[in-house]
Every structure is written in C-alpha cells, then in structure tokens.
Symmetry: C2
Subunit: 540 residues, 2 copies
C-alpha cells in the first residue's frame, strides 16, 4: 500500500573522486534500490534543477517526494526533513453537486471537507442538456476536423475547473495550507462529467451505440488542466465502463469493499438514478433505474436535497399522534429530503392516514378520535385534492409551509416500487435470495440519513434484519479518497471494471412486472414483508 | 528493432450496441495486442481529442503513430494511410560545431544533412570558459536557492536551442518537409554540452570531485525545450559516464559496433581531445588525452578545421619532387587541416626535408640536386627560423600564403607522440598487442580524411596492415542516428555505460615515459615500425 504521492527516506553516499556518480543518477540509484519494485525512478526535466539542488543542500540525505505512477516513480521534490502533511484532494464530481475532501497522504487523516453546487447547471440541468450545450457548434458538422474545439465544451470545462479551484482553496484554507501545496487530485464522476472535466467531446455518449471517447483516462498532471493546485500533482480519474456506467459507480463499488468480499453483497446508491450492484470478489452485476428523483428533491413539490432546512427525520406516534421532526442544521424547515420523506410516508402508513396504494384517506369518515383530531389539524383539502401539512405557515410564518401533496405521494410510491423492482430483478438474475446477502451497503446522502426500517415499511428495501444494512455516505468520494491513499485500490478499480456485467432494465420485461407488483405498501404480496403490518387489502 | 517513432497498422472492430468500448480504449486495446510486448499503450491528454477523431474519421482502421518509450507506447497521431516518411533528426552537439542529419524512421534513409558552427563560442571557446559564463551569477552564492537560474546559463541554452531550430529548418527544407513535421530528436554531445542544452547547472562539472548534475536524462518532449520541431517529439539524449566522458563518446562506441563485437577492437576519435576506447562485448576501457589540437586546426598557424579551402591532401614525389595538393571544395587554399598536415609531414619526412626529430634540415648543405631545387623553392628562412611554403602568396595572391613553420612541426610531433603513447598505454593496460586487434575504427573528420599509411609513417598510428583501419566519419552523429532507428541501440547505450572503465592518463607515469619515446619519426624504437624507412638515428 503506497499513496499516490509519497515521501521516501534517502541516505545516499556523498560523492568523491572514487564515486563520481552524477547527482540525479545518485538519487535515482538510491531510490531504485529502496523501492525495489522494478519500476524506474524518473526525475522529469522540469524538476531536475530544484531536486538536484535540494538533494545537494541536504547533504545527499533526506526525503524524496515521489509521484507513484503505474509504470514509474516520478521524483517531484526533495526535503531535508520528512513532510508531516502531504495533502491530496479527493473529488466527487457530481452532475448537480461537487463534494471534496482533503486527505493527508502520510496517514490517511481527513484534513478538511467542502462542497459546492455544480454551476454547470446554468448550461443545462441534466447530462443530456449539457452534452447538447457542449456540442452546440459541433453538431453542425457531423465529423469535425481533428483540431476543432466546441466553445460550448470549453465553457463547461472552464466552469468545472473554476469550481474545483474554488473547492481546493476552501479545503486548503480549512486545513491551514495553500492550494498550491495540494499534491494530488482524484476525480470520481459519471462518464459525461469526466468528459466535460477534460474538455473531451461527449457527442457520441448519447447517440446509439453510445460510445464514450474514453473510459480510462491517462494520469495527467494538474498543470495540463490549469488546476490551481501544485502543477506536478497527478490527476487520477476513476475509470468508467460505458456511457451510462461511470467512474462514480466504480468508486462506490471500491468504497463498499464488495469486490474484495468472498460473500455476495449488494450496493445501493441513490442519486439522480438508483444504481445497484450485486456481487463479490468473483463477479459483479449492475443495473440502474429512475428510482431516485422522489428521494432527491426532484419530484416532490417540497422535496429538496439533504441540506440546511431540509426535514430529514419525521415521526408520528401511532398511539398519541404526537409528531416530531428535525431539520438539517436545526434551522426552520424549507422542505423535505429523501430520508424525511421516507420517514413521513412510513409514519402516514403506520398511522393509517394513507392506504396501501399510498392514497390519503378521507379524514371525514375517521372513527378513531385521536386520529381524527390529528387528521383535522394536518390533512387539508385543497385544489389538488387532499394533502398533509407538515408545518403550517403560521407556525413557520416567514418561510411558508411544508406540505406533502397526493402527487408527491404518487411519485414516492413509483420510486419505491422502481427501487424494489430493481433489487428483485437483479437478485433474481443470479438466482439468489435477499437473505443470502452478507450486507446491503447503502450509499449517497440518501444512505447516510435513511432509516432502513422505514424504507422496509414502505416496501422499498427488502424486509431483512437491520444489521444487514450499512450506510457509507458518499461512496463516490470515499472511493476517490481510497485511490489517493493506496495504489492497490487503483489496481482494484481495473479489476472491478473488467469483472462487471451490466443488466439493461429499460428493455427488461421482468422488471416491468415486478414494478407493477411493488406499487402497494409494502407490496402486492405482503408475505414478502412479514415485519410490516397490513391494514387492508388492495382494492382492484 | 523498432524506431523511436513508428507507425503501426490498426484494424479495429467498428463499435456497436454489443461492443461499446470507448474510442480511445478501442485503439489502445487493438495496439496493445498488436505490439504484444507488455508495455502499456497510452494516449496522453493533449492528443486524445485529435487521435479519437482521426481514428473515427478513418473508420477505426489505419495507422497509429507511436512514440516508442522505455516503459510505454505513446500514441501521438493517427492516419488513414501509412506515412511514407517519419522524419527524425540526429544531432552531434559539438563544442565548436553542430552536425545534424534527418533520417526517415520508416526505412533508415538519410534525407538531408546540415551543419553549423556552435555560436556559443562567443561566450567562450572551450568547455571551461562556457561553464564559467553559465555560472557567472551563481558563483557568487556557493549553494544557490533551488529556484535560482543563472542568466548566463539561460543565454547559453537559448543559443543552442536557436541553433538547433536553425538546423531543423535547414534539414527540413532540404528534405522537402517542414520543421514542424520532424517527429524525433536524438542528441549526442559531451557532458557539459548536454547540461547547457538542457539549461542544467554545470557548476560542479569542473570542480573536484567533478560531479555532473546528471548522466542519464529522462526522455523529454520537444515542446518542453521550446524546440521548433513537432512538440510531441521525443528528445533522447545520449547518456554520459562522467564529467569528462560524454554521450558523444558513448555514441561513437555504439556506432563503431565494438560493444557487440566478440573480438577486441579499438576506437580512435580525434576531436578537441583524442578519445580512445579499447574493448569488445565483454569489457570496454577508455581514455582521453590532448593529442588533438595540432590535428584540428588548434595549434598550427595555418591549421584549420576540415572545411572549404582546407588543404586535405598533399603528396611530394620522392623521385621527381613534384608536389600535389587538393583543397576541400576545390577552392583556393586557406589553410591546412589534420589529414593534409599528416600527409605533408609524412611527405617531408620521406623526402628527407625534415629529420627524425621533425626539424627542418638546412637546405644549404643539400647534396641531392633535385631535392635542393625543391627545397630552394619551398623552404624559406624567416624570423622564426626555417619554414615550408606550401603555396606562395604569388600563386595564390589575394589569399596570402600557406606556410608550415617549425613551431607547427613541433606541435605536430607532440600530438603524434601523445597519440601513440595513449594507444600503447591503453593496449598495454590489458596485456594485448596491436596485432591482436580485429579492427581500429577511426572516427571524426580526422578519421574520414586521414591516410592511415601516412599516420603510420609518422609513428602516430601503429604499423599494421591498412585493412585493420576503418574510417566511420562522425561517429557521434552516426550513433545518434542509430538510437533513432533502433530501440535495441538505446538499450546498448545502457550496456556501454555500465561496462566501461576509464583510465586516467593525467596521473599515469607509464604514459609520460611512452610519450617521450614517441617524440621521433617514426619512434625511438624503429623496430616498432618495420614498414617505415629510417634515414638516420636520433641524435642524443
């Protein structure tokens, strides 16, 4: 295990008439024998003067700073004393959001974290509209000249470089270093984001047969990309598998550890799409589907990403009908995020305010007095039909109210049905049962905050012991951190890429049948969810 | 055998829904299996867009252009049809002179040749004065800051880069291409010239214990050095062994073929110094000494480098005393170069106009009438004593006369004695006889024009059958051509560097004794030169 940039102790012999090896050769020879892995040690041209001088100044003894490349070691600096901190930046390059961390490559410590919106959004909210913008001029010429550059592509690239530089400055300030002292960058993003980051033509990504320009990028240095970190920093981009199977998912698989596990595991990453991978160290099978929007602020009117003011937790006591909620940052509620939505809908089901189809029950016919009182307070009849008022405008005057409408509930039911259908289609594909899984790893902001018990109540996740579920947060960022710290993790990415199979759901008949069956709470077949109470049977 | 840049035929499958490999990955995979040597195929960032586009435009079939690097293959371009010409530039980076050739890397054909004076001469005639100039500011600070650059060094580097660009333009024009189409550069020069070319501090080269900054340079690309050839061109610099054992000599050894020969050979390269190497595929021993100046225009008053107007051949018929000479370019004589000087002095000896000590004989006491007549015409008594008038001012009015003075003769004798002493000391070191040598390879302009018979007459080269001697011209340039054409030649350079031993003559007592013994024509011990007539015995 060697980090992508490491310091190596050198104690070379002092030159003399009997040992007239040149300075650079002396350093190389010493390092080659210390590292002993057959990879050549190279001092590239731009570093020869300063490395040779520092080596001499330090009396031919000290610490070489090396970029740990696939085929070679590149000496980039030399110090008299061991550097305590070698800052490396890990980046999750999301379509809507960038998350980054600064890692000390000497010991793995997280020095700082930061995040930003992806300001490319002003050129297009989703991947397709960004590809459209990036190819505005290019689309006029079916096969452009080799030296043609689309200004739209350059615009999108510049936007992302600027954002990364801003993140680097934030991280550096928080860690008490300068951005120029950051010595490595790893980037995990979907295939299109990787193309836009490098300014490489994404034209064919969204056109049959959907061919990216690249899946495996060479290791670049930051100077080539005009990044405001140390120009000699290696920039490592997570490899992707195809146009719709990006490095972010490879990164997630890496972070989950499933590709090293003997027993089979499942990884669920809910972002714009729900991406699900099943497998172990021998094989991996993956698929993706549109199960995410309702959970990521994309569909529900009051839905929002997990961020300050988002209701992330809701409970309603089924006896006393006392309701509690909590917002991120403990500020006034502005909306509700995925985990809050799951909590709320599960609570609405368990308190029988919605039926198994996810439809609001009419408060007027309610027999139970306590429930009737609660419904009177929270369920309101408006233009769009019945809705649930989480926080009223009065209680929360300046911010307006947070309300769950029937249309939001319907979207939520579709999402949870899609999720369960994806999971069952995938596990059925390999002939396993959910109970045979060693672990279900739940990634993403969704995974960090979700209560699996409530997701099970809704029939979104399989009914399994809670200990089966493990949340790992932003797995794309975690994987990016791992490749900075460990070259075996970089090799594991290659292994993952080569051992993965992709299951296409868009043309999958089984998926459509399973999706229909899952559009009830918890399911058309309640025996699949023995721990969830069933209050009535679905009407036809 | 693969050239440093080669074209490789590719015929990749056309992508489809069942084969959605990315464009760059598709090209890499195809090339990896075609090349099959385990080295990874890399498309570096700056070439990804154009290579991917050209690959697509050509229907995924055509010719990839690759830089053949030590650890990898670097794809730099893609063509629909096989390029007929891949121009690579070989350069002998001499202290006084630059010689270059343009080689077609597809077939080894020499497309053009060119040469220029090394205009660094205006900053210093020799290596030491150039190091002095390159360290003008730096000498004020014993250990300069790592980022310190000496303006003198930059000046010398710029001078050489400008000259190389000029040579590239000349070569390109002669070959009917543009300088930007030149795709590789190999450079063979002494250790100091290599440092000045790269702008790397030569300060310690001439200070005990004489440590260069580097002996083995990394492969650079032309863009890094602001060379006006294709910026992606690999720039390969011949490795050196030490401060006084440069890449030009390694190049010469390579060109001679001696390091691959089972039988022992000798290489003699006369430049500013005489550099001599003895050895075979098992071992190599080298030494250098100041035997050159008299032969390279450095000492004789009328001496000059082999160039237009230099008398390169002289003969005097020992019976008729008819004298003939020939100048380079068949123009009016301006001076005399090494080979002409050797011819002339040998002829003067054989016609008994000088004695075995190399002293002019007094024409007044001459008995032979024909000789007396000739002497009367050509031997003149002037301020500095007797001298030989090769061409008189009358015959050659506007240019003045070409004259050999006693001082020139004395220098010539010292040079030839030094040469023979070097050769005998070296061969004695390994316990061999000259007759055991398979070949004596004579390199340099000296080697190209010299008549070995005349050099033997003077006792400069050992008395051996003429077939033992082989002239190879500018071996430094020949070696630079070889490394462009054949990667095994580049590996052979490593072998040469690691198997060579250096014999220091400055402190060698045996050399001084042998030098004294060789200060007669042909030698104090004439039995060493059975084919040379001896007219009298040396006076004490």
């Amino acid at each position: 295990m060697k980090s992508i940039v490491c310091s190596v102790k050198v104690n070379a012999a002092v030159p003399g008439l009997e040992d007239n090896t040149a300075d650079i050769d002396r350093l190389q020879q010493d390092l080659t024998s210390i590292l002993g892995d057959g990879r050549p040690v190279i001092v590239s041209y731009q570093h020869m003067t300063s490395v040779a001088r520092k080596f001499r100044l330090a009396g031919f003894s000290g610490y070489a700073l090396l970029n740990n490349m696939d085929q070679s070691w590149q000496v980039i600096d030399f110090f008299a004393a061991r550097p305590a901190v070698i800052p490396g930046m890990a980046l999750d390059l999301g379509t809507t959001h960038l998350e980054a961390s600064l890692v000390n490559l000497q010991d793995g410590e997280i020095l700082a974290e930061a995040n930003l919106e992806n300001t490319q959004i002003r050129f297009g909210a989703d991947i397709l509209s960004r590809i459209h913008h990036a190819t505005t001029k290019r689309r006029q010429q079916k096969l452009p000249e080799p030296d043609f550059f689309d200004p739209g592509l350059t615009e999108l690239q510049n936007e992302i470089i600027t954002a990364i530089n801003e993140l680097a400055a934030m991280l550096a300030a928080r860690a008490g270093v300068t951005a120029g002292e950051i010595l490595a960058l790893s980037v995990s993003g979907n295939t299109t984001m990787a193309h836009l980051f490098l300014g490489l033509d994404p034209y064919f990504i969204c056109r049959e047969p959907y061919i990216p320009l690249f899946n495996r990028a060479p290791v670049m240095d930051a100077g080539q990309l005009k990044l405001a970190i140390n120009p000699a920093s290696p920039v490592w981009i997570m490899p992707s598998v195809g146009s719709y199977f990006g490095g972010d998912l490879i990164s997630g698989i890496l972070a989950s550890g499933m590709a090293k596990s003997e027993k089979t595991r499942m990884l669920i990453d809910v972002g714009t799409n729900a991406e699900v991978v099943l497998g172990n160290s021998e094989w991996l099978i993956a698929c993706a589907g549109a199960a995410g929007p309702a959970l990521e602020g994309g569909v529900a009117r009051m839905g929002m990403r997990a961020g300050p003011g988002a209701i992330e937790f809701v409970s309603i006591d089924p006896e006393t009908y006392e309701m509690e909620y909590r917002t991120i940052g403990n500020v006034r509620p502005k909306g509700i995020c995925g985990s809050g939505l799951i909590d709320l809908v599960a609570a609405l089901y368990l308190t029988r305010m919605i039926d198994i189809r996810g439809k609001f029950r009419d408060p007027d016919g309610e027999q139970d007095q306590a429930r009737a009182l609660f419904m009177k307070k929270h369920i309101s009849r408006r233009e769009g039909g019945l809705c649930f008022v989480v926080t009223s405008a009065k209680e929360n005057d300046s911010q307006g109210e947070v309300v769950l409408e029937q249309i939001d509930l319907d979207a939520m039911i579709r999402s949870k049905a899609a999720m369960y259908a994806i999971l069952t289609t995938l596990i059925n594909q390999v002939g396993l049962e959910f109970t045979e899984l060693e672990e279900i790893t739940v990634a993403g902001a969704f995974g960090r905050h979700i209560n699996p018990q409530h997701a099970m109540t809704l029939g979104m996740l399989p009914d399994l012991p809670l200990s089966t579920y493990r949340a790992i947060g932003n797995s794309s960022l975690r994987g990016a951190e791992l490749v900075l710290l460990d070259d075996s993790a970089r090799r594991e990415c290659e292994h993952i890429v080569s051992s993965i199979t992709y299951l296409e759901l868009n043309v999958n008949q089984e998926f459509m049948i399973r999706f229909s069956g899952a559009r009830f709470i918890p399911h058309t077949d309640p025996s699949l969810f023995p721990s969830v109470p069933v209050f009535d049977t679905p009407s036809s």
